[in-house]
Symmetry: C2
Subunit: 136 residues, 2 copies
DNA sequence: CGGGATCCTACTCGATACTG
DNA sequence: CAGTATCGAGTAGGATCCCG
């Protein structure tokens, strides 16, 4: 596990000019916008599911366990609007619609994976912290 | 900008065993837990604000623009429970309470910064994608 | 100063039913 | 198959007042 200083050092030049106004103090517009978009229950899971290539609507719904038809529609529409996914409708019977990540959507995959790894690495520590906190 | 394959390659060993069940298909328990914790409107902004060291409650509220007293209290309590921040109350008059990141909270800073940088880098592209989508 | 207790609103999300 | 439409419950989050 590398500590934060390594990354922080490599990012020092851009850190104060770019991150300061968005992650830390101030209004954090960019960060808040991002969280409004993909900080919800499903968006990152959908993006993760699309990482291997295009999928049709029903296949997507089968893989993202528990998502309702409605939410899948809504989230896909929103992500399409933001330029994160493409929607390709094939004029056939029965209809076939495929969704895929755009180049920009793919670049989001990188920090998303980093976050997912953190989640996996620390989920047990968090559970323990929780338990000991609740004991008091 | 590096594409995703570089990181994906360096993480290949753990990717399928660790990320697969959480970011992509399946129930995505770890990822969902993480989003439930820090995927809200304020948590990551608070963590970002604490990156330079301990701050008192009122100072925190002044820096995280727009947060209500209530939400700051709630989020800090939740993050303390999860072992992400520490709360130190000094027995003085007037009372002084300081919050700081735990080591685990600091490690979360790393992927959080990566995400913040992505947000900054892509906010304009997203705004443009939105505009052109709405035009149709 | 650093909260706790309440009240209230707006929006999210799920379930269900219907359609091209 | 891939949606759209509608309803209803739950909840995040803001405003306000009070307390040690």
């Amino acid at each position: 596990m590398s500590d934060t200083s390594e990354l922080a050092e490599s990012l020092r030049v851009s850190f104060e000019t770019d991150v300061e106004p968005c992650l830390g103090s101030g209004d954090g517009r960019a960060m808040r916008d991002l969280l409004d978009r993909v900080g919800d229950k499903w968006s990152l899971l959908i993006i993760g599911t699309l990482r291997d290539g295009a999928l049709r609507f029903s296949e997507l719904q089968r893989r993202v366990t528990g998502i309702s038809q409605r939410m899948l529609t809504l989230k896909l529409r929103s992500m399409q609007r933001d330029g994160l996914v493409t929607r390709t409708a094939h004029a056939e019977v029965p209809p076939r619609v495929e969704y895929a990540l755009t180049p920009m959507g793919t670049t989001l995959l990188e920090p998303a994976i980093a976050l997912a790894l953190w989640a996996v690495d620390n989920q047990q520590a968090i559970a323990e912290a929780r338990a000991s906190f609740d004991a008091a």
